[in-house]
Structures are given as C-alpha cells and as structure tokens.
C-alpha cells in the first residue's frame, strides 16, 4: 500500500505542469531521433544529456526516460511505411510490416505495431515496479563477488547474443574493458596506460567513447556511404498510407500468446545488463518464428512478426531500468546515459536510492507509464509530421549531430581535451563498422569495466587472492556458471560451424 502511495506521488510529480511539459518534449524528441536518418535512440539520449546539466534531477530523469520510451517506437513508422528502419531494433518490422504495406495493409500494420508497443510497454512497466524493490532488497545482501558475477553475466550475455561475429564481439568487449583501465588505478593509485598525459590520467569517460563511437562514428559511416538513405517513395503515395487502423479485439485475443512471448522476452532480455531493445526484438522474432502458431508465415507479412518484435522492443525499456535502479548497473546504452544523469546530480542508483531518494525512483516509474501512453498517442496522431522529418537532408542533420556530440561531451567536464578523445573514437567507431566489429560491446566494456574490475579486485583482496570464492558463494556461483555456459555454448557453435564450413577437413579458399 505504501509503495502504491509512493507511486501515486511519482505520478503527481510527473504530472505537475513543468514536468509534464518536459515529458512531452522528451516524447517528441525521442520520436524525432528514432525517425531522423543518421540518428539513433542512444545518440538522441546522449545529445539530450547536456541540456540536463542545469536542470534539477527530476526533470532530467523525466526528459531522458521519455526519450528512451518513445525512441523505441518512432522507427516503426518509417520501417512499415517506407522500409527505412529508424533503429536496428526496427529491422524485423521490415520483413512483415513493410510486406503488409505492399499488400495495402499499412494502416493495420501500424495498428498492430502501436498495440504491441502499448502492451509491451505497460506490461514491462508493471513488472519493473513489482521487481525493482525486491531486487534492490536482494542487492543489499550482495557483496563484491555477487556484483562481479552479475556484471560478468551482463558482459557475457551481450556477446553471446551479438548479431555479428562472436570473436569480433569479444575482441570489441576486451578493448572496451581495457579503455576502462586507462588512468589512475583506484586501489593502488598507479598510472595505467596514461603515458604521462594529464587528460588520460583522469581516465576515459564512457560518455566520450559512446558519443564518439556511436555519434561521430555513425556520421562518418553514413558519409562514406554517400549519405544515401534507402529510397523513399513519392510523397503522393506516402500520403495515402498516413494513418493507423487498430486490429479487431478477436484478432488481438487470437494472438495473446504472441503478445505474452514477445513481452516476456523483452522484459527478460532487457533485465540482462547490456542487452537492450535491438537484441530483444531479434530474439523475440526468432522465438516467434520457431515456436509461434503461425511462425512459418513470418517474413511474408504476418502480424505476429510485428507484434513479437515491437512488444519485445518496448518491453525491454522497463526491464533495462530494473538493474539500473536496483543495482546501479545499466541494462542498455540508453540506461547508461540515464545513469550518467543520476551521477551528474550526485546520486548513485542502487539499493540505497530506494531508501534515500525513493521519490526519484517513483518519478522514473511514473515517467515510463506516462511515457508509454504518450508515445502511443503521439504515434497515432503525429504520423504526418514525423514522416515529413524524413525529407530533411541527411548531410545537414549529420553536421548538427557532430556539433551536438562535441558540445555534449565538452560540457560534461569543460575540458577541450575531451574533444580529441571523441574525434579519435569517432574514427575508431567508423573502423569498427567497416571491419564488422560491433560497437555495443566496446561501449558496454567501457561502462561496466570499472564495476567489474573494482568488484573483482575487492574480492581478491578481501578473500586472500582465493578466486574459488566466486564459485563457492551460491548466487555468484550460479550466475557465473550460467554466464560461462552461455559463452561456451556460443564458442562451441562457432567451432561446429567451422567444421561444417570445411567438410572432410578440407580448407576453403577465401
């Protein structure tokens, strides 16, 4: 009852005129970045961060959370109508959503997408409220071995679920973990990989890696491709499709298992530290293809494909906020930025925040609920202006993105050296894209690296260098075994694929 009253207080806070205005701005911005070519959800949240420096912590959290929620939907419109995925998470919508559009069922495809996003978002918000407190209470009993095991599990999961080469993902992750070691070591105060340079002695902020690799790197990648977005069909043809038609109740009830599977997948994958909306959408789509009643029809314009992917993508938001709020471990790229907003205001998310600043937790909860509702209202009524945004020349948008990246990162510490770091990571991000090294593990390694190392070192120092302690404590042991088993399974899969590719042991020519 007390928790419900506190949640009601969160709603009251968010519904105050100024905060509600900020929520609305966040929803619109989230939709815009998801639609605009060259901008992604994570980049959008990164670019909004500098505007929160002078805000109070509550409006800052409302803005970023609203952007995070609505950013998961905008790309669905362009994917379904124009075959332009605003975000990687929207790629599964191309297979079925655009196929429905070509059959003349664009409005219905948008309707399925909206209903799936609403269901996934609200269900995950409820789970988030129910789970966050117990997880935070459980986390209070955790010590450094448990924290290390959970972070290790997150790092292993994102690699296991990676869409590209497993080995490249692991290399990318290692590089991220190494970047996190640059600077003065927190236990012994020794310089590591700083080469006597003062700006390296302070360490490399994950924000710089994120802004550089995701923001500047993506712009350079698109520039190398000539800023050529996939063909957008004529305006006249577009206009006829600019509306949403809701599916019938009976059809929705028929698909209740798909809704449940997608939402559950989104919540579970979202909770895993590091795996976000994109991974959720692809995994849910894969599961639907494998286990759904109409799974074999996926890819031919089946609404099940839209529902599975979209409900999972939106459900991942609530899931990803659970480890952030309860343990201080970000569950996705966007939640890493929300973590940065907390830290910039001197608040460390984790079990203590539930005791010391419960109003902030409830504001985040309420922002997700209201954000999902606002996102659906906006998604229903704002299709026309959102589609108009697609006409903005990509070269101009990209120029502004680069400037925003520089200002955003510079403003965090007022340090001009940070600009060099961003430019360097911009080039590294481009090279990673070019040579098929995924960027997400690099960024995740930079974010979770200090957490992993600190907890590992603390454990080893506290338990006399006895590494078996990680496996002798029940929670850390189970979590580590699961993580290692997942990694081994993936590596085994790699080796088996290698054997299949070279039948009879013959070497294949490249």
């Amino acid at each position: 009852m007390d928790a419900l009253l506190q949640l009601a207080g969160g709603f009251a806070d968010v519904l105050s005129p100024l905060n509600f205005f900020i929520l609305a701005v966040g929803l619109v911005l989230g939709m815009l970045v998801a639609v605009l070519p060259g901008l992604t959800l994570v980049m959008g949240v990164v670019l909004a961060l500098p505007f929160t420096y002078k805000m109070g912590v509550a409006p800052a959290l409302i803005l970023l959370t609203a952007m995070y929620v609505s950013g998961t939907y905008g790309g669905a419109i362009t994917s379904i109508l124009f075959r332009i995925p605003g975000e990687p998470m929207d790629v599964p919508l191309l297979w079925d959503g655009y196929a429905m559009t070509r059959r003349g069922e664009a409005a219905l495809a948008l309707g399925w997408s909206l209903v799936a996003a609403f269901f996934g978002g609200i269900a995950s918000a409820i789970v988030m409220v129910l789970l966050a407190r117990p997880v935070a209470s459980l986390a209070l009993t955790f010590s450094s071995p448990e924290y290390f095991a959970i972070v290790f599990f997150g790092l292993a999961s994102v690699v296991t679920l990676s869409g590209t080469s497993l080995v490249n993902a692991l290399i990318s992750l290692c590089l991220g973990l190494l970047i996190a070691t640059v600077g003065v070591d927190s236990i012994y105060g020794v310089d590591r990989f700083a080469f006597g340079l003062p700006f390296l002695q302070d360490g490399i902020e994950f924000l710089l890696v994120m802004v550089g690799a995701y923001g500047v790197g993506e712009v350079l990648t698109r520039m190398a491709a000539g800023f050529e977005s996939e063909a957008v069909e004529g305006a006249a043809e577009r206009q006829g499709r600019w509306r949403t038609a809701f599916p019938r109740w009976a059809d929705m009830l028929r698909m209740k298992a798909t809704f449940a599977r997608g939402t559950l997948t989104g919540i579970i994958v979202g909770i895993v530290p590091g795996a976000g909306a994109t991974v959720s959408a692809f995994v849910a789509y894969g599961l639907e293809h494998q286990y759904g009643k109409n799974g074999k029809a996926l890819g031919t314009g089946a609404p099940e494909g839209i529902v599975a992917a979209k409900s999972a993508a939106t459900a991942s938001v609530g899931g990803a906020l659970v480890p952030l709020l309860a343990m201080g471990i970000p569950g996705s790229g966007a939640t890493a930025i929300i973590l940065a907003a907390f830290l910039l205001h001197g608040i460390q998310p984790g079990p203590q925040v539930f005791a010391n600043s419960p109003e902030l937790v409830n504001i985040v909860f309420a922002s997700v609920f209201l954000g999902v509702i606002g996102m659906c209202v906006l998604g229903y009524f704002a299709i026309k202006p959102l589609c108009k945004v697609l006409d903005a020349p990509e070269a101009i948008v990209s120029a502004f993105v680069v400037v925003f990246c520089f200002v955003g990162a510079f403003a965090a510490r007022n340090n001009l050296s940070d600009l060099y770091v961003i430019a360097a990571f911009g080039v590294i991000g481009f090279l990673f894209e070019r040579y098929n090294f995924p960027i997400a593990p690099l960024v995740l390694g930079t974010i979770l690296g200090p957490l992993a190392e600190n907890n590992f070192m603390t454990t080893m120092v506290s338990f006399d260098n006895d590494w078996t302690i990680f496996f002798r404590r029940p929670i850390s042991g189970v979590v580590l075994v699961l993580a290692i088993a997942g990694l081994m399974w993936s590596l085994l899969k790699t080796l088996l694929s290698l054997r299949k590719a070279s039948p009879n042991g013959q070497t294949q020519a490249p």
Partner: protein, 187 residues
C-alpha cells in the same frame, strides 16, 4: 594487397596492438604486499584479446570468409536478407565515397583542433556550412545561411537555454566571439 593479408589485417593490427599493450603493462609496478596487483586485470584482458585475435587469424586463413557464425541476433526469417548489423563480408565493406569520408574526417579533426583557438561561434558556422557541402549538398547559399543561422541558434540554445559555457577562442577571435554572442543577448 594479397587477399589473405587483407582478410587478416584488422585482427593482425589488433594482435600487434595487444602485444604492445602487454609490453606497456609490464611497466605497471607497485609494491602490493603479496596482494593482487593493478596490472593483473588489464594483463588478463590483453592476453584474452590476443588469443582471440590469433584464433580469428588462424580461422580466416584456414576457412576463409565464407561464413561468420554469430549469436542469436542473426536469426532471420527463411529466404530473407540478413538483418542490419548481421554478418557481412569479413574484409569489410568498401567505402563507396572515400573522398567524402576523407573530407568528413578532416573536418571533424579540424574542428577539434581549431575550436580552442577560433572559438565555438566562428568554427561552428564554418563547419555547418562546409560539412553538408562535403557531404554532397551543392547549394552554397543554403549552406552559408545554414552555417551562420545554425551557429547562432546553437549558441542561443546552449548558452542561454542550457547555460553551457562554450569556448570563445584566443586573441582577436575571442573579442569577435564575445561581440557576436553579445549581439544575441548572451553575456
């Protein structure tokens, strides 16, 4: 460049980088009193990274680039194209506009080098005008207007709305920047 060398180049570079980092990590010395030292964690990661690079180099030399196993995200419907971000040719996609890319990199690097000296207002105006042109937008009047208006707009947004202190430049550029932002009512 021979095909096999091209195939293994990224991982060979990473392997060399890992070897160099390991050498650097050998210099991290401190009296730990028998406890685990600050070099152990980075050394362990470097060794894992080097082993992965060596494995991938061997794999590419033996099996070539015919396939690339990935994780669950590569799941796709039968008969459909691979999803964005899924396995691509291991030699890496060739940039179809290398000059645009070179221009973009030069502009990004130039921006960070020039902005401390010339200041945000002028550097950003030039950047916003030139970047779209390099990106293929051949409308000089629009580019010029965009540069000036965009820079002024960003100054207002960042300095008046978000209260972010931006670099003003040095010497005469500083005086010019102060005069320009003064015109916008920013003190």
């Amino acid at each position: 460049m021979p095909v096999k060398l091209k195939l293994i180049l990224p991982h060979a570079v990473m392997l060399a980088f890992a070897a160099w980092l390991y050498w650097v990590s050998l210099r991290i010395e401190v009296d730990t009193g028998g406890r685990i030292g600050p070099a152990v964690w980075p050394k362990a990661i470097i060794v894992i990274m080097a082993l992965l690079c060596a494995f991938e180099i061997a794999r590419r030399l033996l099996a070539g680039a015919a396939f690339m196993p990935g994780g669950l995200v590569t799941s796709k419907p039968p008969g459909k194209a691979a999803p964005v971000g899924a396995a691509k040719d291991m030699s890496g996609p060739i940039a179809s506009h290398p000059w645009k890319l070179a221009g973009g990199v030069a502009l990004v690097v130039g921006y960070v080098l020039v902005v401390p000296l010339v200041g945000f207002v002028i550097t950003t105006a030039v950047f916003l005008a030139v970047f779209p042109w390099v990106g293929g937008l051949r409308r000089p009047v629009l580019a010029a207007v965009l540069g000036v208006a965009g820079s002024f707009l960003l100054v207002v947004v960042f300095m008046r709305v978000a209260y972010i202190s931006l670099p003003l430049g040095e010497g005469p550029f500083k005086a010019l920047s102060i005069a320009l932002i003064g015109l916008l009512g920013v003190s």
